[in-house]
């Protein structure tokens, strides 16, 4: 099973600054280990929702680093709102983690 993400969502005015750390090997399919090519294994799509409504989506490639970090801003968020982030990889594996928007400075 995939390891948990670490999500931080902090308010700046009515904009939530969301930062997501994902645990994923992000294999490029070009690396060899013991003479054998390590098969391609990477996150293909990422989506984020604010209280269940989709606010962000991205299709990414194997060019993204291992254990990647993503940051984006969500307008109209309030303290206590729920941000959920989901990734899905090329092996069909998926993981969703949630956090609550925190009031910031």
């Amino acid at each position: 099973m995939a390891d948990p993400m670490k999500i931080r969502a902090t308010l700046q005015g009515d904009v939530a600054d969301v930062r997501v750390l994902m645990a994923h090997p992000m294999e490029t399919g070009q690396r060899k280990q013991g003479g054998q090519v390590v098969p391609l294994h990477f996150i293909q799509s990422i989506t984020a929702t604010l209280n269940g409504k989709q606010v962000f989506s991205a299709d990414i490639s194997q060019a993204i680093s291992r254990n990647p970090v993503f940051a984006f801003k969500v307008k109209g968020a309030k303290a206590g709102d729920e941000i959920a982030v989901t990734w899905k990889d090329n092996k069909g594996e998926t993981r969703t983690d949630k956090t609550t928007v925190r009031g910031g400075s």
Partner: protein
């Protein structure tokens, strides 16, 4: 033109680096650039992924005995994690020796959870595809001392002895290169290629032996602890490998941490 560029770089760097990182290396633009690089990366350090995992491993029952580590005594009483990392290595009466954080965690995994040392030290260090549990747990424990001053005790005779032994090992020249830790880390202003080497015998530089560890290495995306760092130093010196969680490594860590005493530990870090 070249001089103008360099000057511009130095000025930008001086503005971007907090005064706490001021050291003999500050006047070195390359070293200062690395400091800036680390500072930017610290904001979203993947090490946090292992903190989360380590916390789960600490609180969830596991091992043959199906016990959690919440009764593990890291020196401040059973289950007390906050601040424990900053006050280790220290003497533990139950084992009658000085232990560093990872050595103590492994000891708890053996005594409380029923793991066998043979299995834990078979492949103790992280690879690109596998992070051993003690590494994740050490990362979690270390994070609970972020922002605290290093205060490894030097009260018990064995703690003083560990410091003395660590100092001796640090300065001990041997191996095919007739090398010691001090060959690289006992002199001011040394470097390997672009990497400036701190002088760990000086209190203000000794912090760099503790700071940033456990650390996420961007090269390979691997989480490493000080046990790995010191073992790899042995390899670089062409010394025989020290035992995982051995008294040798605890003694060396005592020497290094006590030298950095009183300085603020920032928690798990990020490395090139």
């Amino acid at each position: 033109m070249r001089h103008a560029l360099l000057l511009g770089l130095a000025a930008a760097v001086a503005a971007g680096v907090p005064w706490t990182q001021a050291s003999a290396q500050m006047d070195d633009p390359v070293a200062a650039e690395f400091d800036k690089f680390r500072e930017v990366l610290e904001k979203d350090n993947p090490a946090e992924l292992w903190e989360v995992k380590g916390e789960q491993l600490w609180t969830t029952p596991g091992g043959p005995k199906k016990a959690s580590l919440e009764k593990c005594d890291l020196g401040l009483g059973p289950g007390v994690v906050k601040g424990a990392y900053a006050q280790m290595p220290r003497y533990f009466a139950d084992v009658d020796r000085v232990m560093d954080a990872e050595a103590r965690i492994v000891h708890c995994m053996i005594t409380l959870q029923g793991y066998e040392l043979d299995k834990l030290d078979d492949k103790p260090f992280s690879s690109a595809t596998h992070t051993p549990d003690p590494v994740s747990i050490t990362t979690y424990v270390a994070a609970q001392s972020a922002g605290m001053k290093l205060a490894p005790p030097q009260n018990h005779p064995k703690e003083k002895a560990a410091y003395a032994i660590g100092k001796e090992i640090f300065h001990y020249r041997a191996g095919s290169y007739d090398f010691s830790c001090a060959s690289c880390h006992g002199v001011d202003g040394q470097r390997i290629r672009t990497q400036p080497l701190p002088n760990f015998t000086k209190p203000e530089q000794a912090i760099r032996s503790v700071q940033g560890w456990p650390g996420y290495r961007m090269t390979g995306g691997v989480m490493h602890t000080l046990q790995w760092r010191l073992t790899d130093c042995y390899r670089q010196q062409r010394f025989p490998e020290p035992g995982y969680t051995s008294e040798t490594l605890s003694a060396l860590l005592t020497y290094l941490t006590v030298n950095a005493s009183g300085q603020v530990y920032k928690g798990p870090g990020i490395k090139r």
